[in-house]
Amino acid sequence: MSESVLRNGSVDGFLLLEDGTLFHGQLPAAYPPTVAEVVFTTNMTGYQEVFTDPSFRGQIVVMTAPQIGNYGINEEDTESSRPQVAGVVTRELSRTYSNWRATGGLPEWLAAAGVPVLDGVDTRRLTRHLRSGGVMSGVMAVGSTPTVEAITALDACPPMEGLDLASVISTEVRYSWGDPAAALHVVAYDFGIKRNSLRLLESAGCRVTVVPAATPAQEVLALKPDGVFLSNGPGDPAAVGYAPAAVRMLAESGVPIFGICLGHQLLAIAYGGRTEKMPFGHRGGNQPVRDLSTGRVLITAQNHGFAVAGSDGAIEGSDELEVTHLNLNDGTVEGLRHRSLPLFGVQYHPEASPGPHDARGHFEEFLEAVRERATQDEPSA
């Protein structure tokens, strides 16, 4: 038994951040070095949804909730076909689980997907570090001191700015979701779509055609959608170069458009806005957002590292868009709509999963526009 092999067969591991800060923990097995942007999420439940959320693609996710894995994993709570995260950092990973829906344990599930989890870390120290220093790249590897191999890998890690991950993660082929006979038809751009958005559209009586991120607007219009949904997704919105033109063309056609997260950011860019990298983003299930039209506060699920530049007055660079929602913690733009066209977006995740359901109403809002569009279309069809 080598010295670094610990109870449960795990080995010493570390996380080295780009600024040189080192964190110790244990890895379940000897993984090759993993390099990625390190972010934290404050979700207290819903780790399986977090790990399968495509927006986390290419990130090492630090769970601030200290006990992870307690209720195992199941077949239903996945937001995509597989774990998307590059790595996970936890304070205490549970080796046993208990839940009536559970079909297996989290450590085994992550291991099967080749996702390393660094356990036993002072995740609060790490979180505080990221909060004050901003998110940064890091390398997760075996050992108790950084190796040359790990440092080299870290140095080669590209920054998140300028990375178009949406194109990478998007479906390569068009597919359908929901009842083919459903009355309403929504085309969903997949920039890294979460399944719960599809589930919600389906349960609201839509059939959804999911199209690749780079699908031209003409192709989408040819599908005669009653509405277009722009999904969430990972990476830098400014790097998804082809999307704004398509969005604009679709918008001008009069079809209702609803964007979530990356989709919301692309709406802003399409109408002259811009996005900027946030110091450490919003990731969690407790972000308060004010609906400027009603004054009401929604507790929202969020997961983003970029935000649309603007304030309570306006979206920077765009007269055509107006701000509808603001974050109460830091005043960032959380929602926008076009002043005349039926298009709107929110930065947060009304589909939740994980997170609170306060913002579910946005889907209904979108569906109203979709239904109206469908009835307008009928006579001409």
Binding site: R7, T64, S98, R124, R128, P288, G295, I299
Partner: protein, 1095 residues
């Protein structure tokens, strides 16, 4: 929506005395609410009868009425103060019920007072079982299948439908009072009848049992704009069937997936909207079927609660404070999150730690009481602990209970864990039935080889929790077997929450050696902040907990600091009054510019509010935990004399570890506790004590008792609250006492004192700066000697002790304080018999009467004490002489006998009260009457008095009987007594004793023919009959007294109630009298109809 401007004066209703199910948490919430409202510029008028609270100190409200929390008295306050609104959600069920009564009887409307925080309809729908079930049906949520009964007949037919076991829940009661689980028809009838009786509207809900389902709670808040947030989720380790107050609970929920949690969250949001809590908080309990996730709503409380206090401490989100602000019109987004300072309160706290709450019980005080845990709460206090993991917090929580457990550790013997033996059969039987010891029985079960799945079958505890416990056992085994304990192993054990003592036992080492080794390995705790946001935002509020991670966040102020040790979980004998003292000290020290550092483990208290002290360590009060903090903080010193026995017990070891103890020296504390050393001092000072001796065996005890003469008072040394203290009348009983209650040894001797029969007792609280001693107050006990001072009513100033005797007490107190070198507080207990003053006990520390005395004399003695401990003189502080109030203050104790029906409710030398009330008036009778009404002993103004007294008491009973007769009461007595009284010309009817036939005394009580019971059982020949009478009196809410002195005081009170119109006056006005101000006349004040009061 900003603050309302149409209301200016707000009446805040407190919860009255501490009782099981309603404890210090309402001082915490009430204090927060009062502060929050004053901060907003409202005038706050407060009613609360409990003097041991911070909220009733005069500066916490504009007008403070220490009066009974009953509709009658609250009406008087309303009539006098004319508030614009009443906030009823901060004082537990008591305040809510009073507010509802005042809404129903039209008082609120008559005076134009608006209910804020919760409207009448919301309270009714939430509290009325039938309406609640209907409301849940409307929003598509399930409640337990159950039906409402208003009578026994209705209940019996419902049982046909629910089957057994069945759960019985009375409406409008607190702490599940009067409820229970019935496994058969006989139990069912007993519980239903009791429940109907306890419920103010004679309504019980009878439900299908959900035994074994998982139990959760959510704390929810809503504002006028309909914004809703969930503050905290709590999961009970003990599944359904055990009252949540008696369960080990965990925050946040550990075993819910997001999908399940969001279903629960959606339900909670729908419930608070449907019930219509417009601006404030509520607590909702859920049951979840572990097999399929089915969700059932158990109940909701439309007010702050014990759970909301816990949730506030667990998250850093001050629910009561925010609730108060919502009640006056703010919305959540307009209120800042005080912990971060930069974000609003409209968010849901994210936890990056685990919180475990453990209940503390007092069954050792109520030997005959049923220790089974059911839906009726039986615990008297709780500890809370914070750790980075469940295991860490769980073990810290258990050691914070201070009941001898040093973590998750089995008792020394099976009996300690309430087991006859450790056989699998015995364990299986025990595990099926929840008791306070079950969590330790579990460990024995694992050790005996029972599998986790079998234990789950037996207990229904979630397998995840059982797996955590198994992990702890594996850790123990590995640690015990390790060749060497290296840094890695040590850290892992500490991260799992093991105390140094536990580790020592595992490897046969002394705790101190474990610590020395650990320090050598540099395995030391770090302190992390509770910041509401899991580190997402910077926070500067030093609310800290210890763990064995890497980074410490405890800030250094650079100011000279003082550590104040709190009093830990509430228990009988050590309750909110010590927290009061600690908080007063903290406030005084902060005012003087010191950094005040609080250490405590009790989530119910004001001391553990994050903005009470400059820095709060929420940690167990064990030597290890305290030492680590002191080592890190390097304070000027530590204050140990304000938190009761808890800190006092640590004094010697802290001093030995080089920690400076502020105030009275540890050696002086030891002298007071050590009988032999104290005797020497008393002799030197010429102070008389009852003849006494110290026995290390039963034979020695018999020898001593024979020498000094029976009756004697026997008790173990170094105990709190008169634990196992008894009056013994002969050698046979003495030997029986040793068999039953104590084990004497060299280390733990038993003290034998001559018992002074028929003596008066008095308590004196004083303060000394080392040079000057000033008397705080002299309190005469109402009950005769032999009743624990904590259980006796008392009056300040004394009303029957002669001036000469008082002078002697003065003199003795001063000379004792000087001889012991007291710097701070000292309490001396005296007995006066035949013109001789004896010293019974000396405690060089804060006593439980400090808050009462402070209120009576208008001087916060604990604040003064803190300042003298830091070196100020009484002269500089300006407290130079005893204050003699021109009014009378009475303190009365409150007992939990209604929760322990099996127990004989007789007073004795062992303390059994859970709380206290105060009455202030310009006459003894009126003050005593208020104290009685405040304590829930509604005194009659007419009717029948039932006297049953011992032969030796008969002569003394005569004047009392005559007095009641003269006031027009009918008298009833057992035949002997009746003949005796008639012989003296007092008309009195005879009644049979229980064993003599029927109808007997119990029948009269049951039939409602008796309005007051006077029964004096004390003495060797106490009748067995008496026991039944007293229990009947409790069951049928007939006021009773078990001492003649109590009966005499009651007659004074009845006289006052009959002859005077009641009026109320605020504490601030009474204190103005002390300054010589002339009070405004009470003319024009509304006078309530005479209270035929039943609290």
């Amino acid at each position: 929506m900003p603050r309302r401007t149409d209301i200016k004066r707000i009446l805040l209703i407190g919860s009255g005395p501490i009782v099981i199910g309603q404890a210090a948490e309402f001082d915490y919430s009430g204090t927060q609410a009062a502060r929050a409202l004053q901060e907003e510029g409202f005038e706050v008028i407060l009613v609360n009868s409990n003097p041991a609270t911070i909220m009733t100190d005069p500066e916490f409200a504009d007008r403070t009425y220490i009066e009974p929390v009953t509709p009658e008295f609250v009406e008087l306050v309303i009539a006098r103060e004319r508030p614009d609104a009443v906030l009823p959600t901060m004082g537990g069920q008591t305040a809510l019920n009073v507010a509802l009564a005042l809404a129903e009887n039209g008082v609120l409307e008559r005076y134009g007072v608006e209910l804020i925080g919760a409207k009448r309809r919301a309270i009714e729908v939430a509290e009325d079982r039938a309406q609640f079930a209907e409301a849940m049906g409307r929003i598509g949520l399930k409640v337990p299948q159950g039906r409402i009964a208003h009578s026994w007949d209705e209940a019996a037919s419902i049982a046909e439908f629910t089957g057994f076991p069945a759960i019985i829940r009375p409406s409008f009661t607190l702490g599940g009072s009067g409820g229970g689980i019935a496994y058969n028809r006989e139990e069912f009838e007993a519980i239903v009848r009791n429940g109907l009786d306890e419920s103010p509207n004679s309504q019980v809900l009878i439900e299908r049992s959900l035994l074994g389902w998982k139990e959760f709670e959510l704390e929810v808040m809503r504002d006028h704009a309909d914004n809703v947030v969930i503050v905290c989720s709590i999961e009970n380790l003990d599944p359904m069937g055990v009252h949540t107050g008696d369960s080990i609970t965990v925050a946040p929920a550990m075993t819910l997936s997001d999908r399940e949690y969001q279903v629960m969250r959606d339900a909670a949001v729908a419930i608070i909207r449907e019930i219509g809590v417009e601006a404030g908080g509520c607590n909702i309990q859920f049951a979840v079927n572990p097999v399929d996730g089915e969700l059932i709503v158990i109940e909701m409380n439309p007010r702050v609660s014990r759970s909301s206090a816990l949730a506030s401490k667990a998250t850093g989100f001050p629910i009561a404070r925010i609730s108060a602000k919502l009640a006056v019109g703010y919305t959540l987004d307009e209120i800042p999150n005080d912990i971060t300072g930069t974000t609003p309160a409209s968010f849901e706290p994210a936890l990056d730690y685990v919180v475990v709450k453990c209940p503390r019980f007092a069954f050792e005080k109520f030997a005959a009481a049923d220790p089974r845990l059911t839906t009726q709460m039986k615990s008297v206090g709780e500890s809370m602990a914070i750790g980075r993991t469940f295991k860490e917090a769980f073990q810290k929580g258990l050691r914070a209970l201070e009941n001898g457990r040093i973590g998750w550790a089995i008792g020394a013997t099976e009996l300690d864990d309430r087991l006859a033996d450790s056989s699998p059969e015995t364990l299986r039987a025990a595990l099926r039935q929840p008791t306070p010891e079950r969590i330790f029985q579990l460990k024995r079960a694992f050790q005996a080889g029972l599998s986790s799945s079998e234990i789950h079958e037996l207990t229904a505890i979630d397998p995840w929790f059982l797996a955590q416990l198994e992990d702890l056992l594996a850790d123990e085994r590995e640690y015990a077997a390790a060749d060497v304990v290296d840094e890695r192993l040590m850290r892992r054990m500490k991260r799992a929450g093991f105390s140094d003592r536990q580790l020592g036992i595992l490897r046969g080492e002394h705790e101190d050696d474990v610590r020395a080794h650990r320090w050598l390995l540099d395995v030391r705790p770090v302190y992390k902040m509770v910041d509401t946001c899991a580190g997402e935002f910077p926070s500067s509020t030093p609310y800290l907990y210890g763990c064995y991670d890497e980074e410490s966040e405890a800030p250094r102020s650079g100011r000279p600091s003082v550590v104040i040790l709190g009093s830990g979980p509430n228990r009988i004998g050590q309750g909110v009054e010590f927290d009061y003292c600690c908080v007063r000290a903290v406030l005084a020290l902060r005012e003087q510019g010191y950094e005040a550092i609080m250490i405590n483990s009790n989530p119910e208290t004001v001391s553990t509010d994050f903005d009470t002290s400059d820095k709060l360590y929420f940690e167990p009060l064990t030597f290890e935990d305290v030492l680590e903090i002191v080592e890190r903080e390097q304070p000027l010193g530590v204050i140990v004399q304000l938190g009761g026995q808890t800190p006092l017990k640590l004094t010697r070891r802290l001093e030995a570890a080089g920690v400076k103890i502020l105030g009275t020296s540890p050696d002086a504390i030891d002298i007071a506790e050590d009988r032999r050393r104290f005797d020497a001092i008393a002799r030197k000072l010429g102070i008389r004590q009852p003849e006494n001796g110290t026995a290390t065996s039963v034979d020695e005890a018999a020898e001593i008792a024979g020498r000094i003469g029976y009756p004697v008072l026997a008790r173990p040394s170094y105990v709190l609250g008169g634990r196992a203290m008894e009056i013994v009348f002969d050698e046979e009983s003495l030997r029986a006492y040793f068999d039953r209650a104590v084990q004497a040894s060299e280390e733990r001797p038993v003290l034998i004192d001559r018992f002074l029969e028929d003596a008066y007792e008095a308590d004196v609280d004083a303060i000394s700066d080392g040079e000057r001693v000033v008397i705080g107050g002299i309190m005469q006990h109402i009950e005769d000697a032999g009743i624990h001072s904590g259980d006796s009513a008392c009056v300040l100033p004394p009303y029957l002790i002669t001036a000469d005797d008082i002078a002697v007490m003065h003199e003795h107190t001063v000379s004792l304080a000087k001889a012991l070198g007291v710097v701070g507080l000292i309490n001396v207990q005296y007995a006066v018999k035949d013109g001789v003053v004896y010293v019974l006990e000396v405690n060089p520390r804060a006593s439980r009467t400090i808050p009462f005395v402070s209120k009576a004399i208008g001087v916060p003695l604990a604040s003064v004490a803190a300042r003298v401990m830091l070196g100020e003189t009484l002269e500089k502080i300006g407290f130079l002489s005893e204050i003699m109030p021109p009014y009378v203050s009475v303190k009365e104790a409150v007992f939990p006998f209604n929760k322990f029906r099996e127990f004989d409710p007789v007073l004795g030398p062992e303390m059994r009260s859970t709380g206290e009330v105060m009455g202030i008036a310009d006459s003894f009778g009126s003050a005593f009457a208020r104290a009685q009404l405040g304590a829930g002993n509604g005194l009659p103004v007419e009717g029948t008095v039932f006297l049953t007294v011992n032969d030796p008491d008969k002569p003394a009973a005569v004047p009392i009987a005559r007095r009641f007769h003269e006031m027009g009461f009918n008298l009833v007595a057992t035949f002997g007594t009746a003949r005796y009284l008639r012989g003296l010309g007092i008309p009195c009817e005879g009644v049979l004793k229980v064993h003599e036939g029927r109808p007997h005394g119990v029948d009269l009580i049951v039939n409602g023919d008796i309005q007051l019971l006077v029964n004096t059982p004390l003495g060797k020949h106490a009748q067995k009959d008496d026991y039944k009478l007293r229990q009947a009196a409790i069951a049928y809410h007939v006021p009773y007294t078990t001492t003649l002195s109590g009966a005499s005081a009651a007659s004074d009170a009845v006289l006052a109630l009959r002859s005077r119109q009641l009026s109320v006056r605020s504490l601030q006005e009474w204190h103005a009298q002390l300054r010589g101000e002339v009070l405004a006349p009470l003319s024009g004040a509304h006078v309530a109809p005479l209270a035929q009061a039943r609290a």
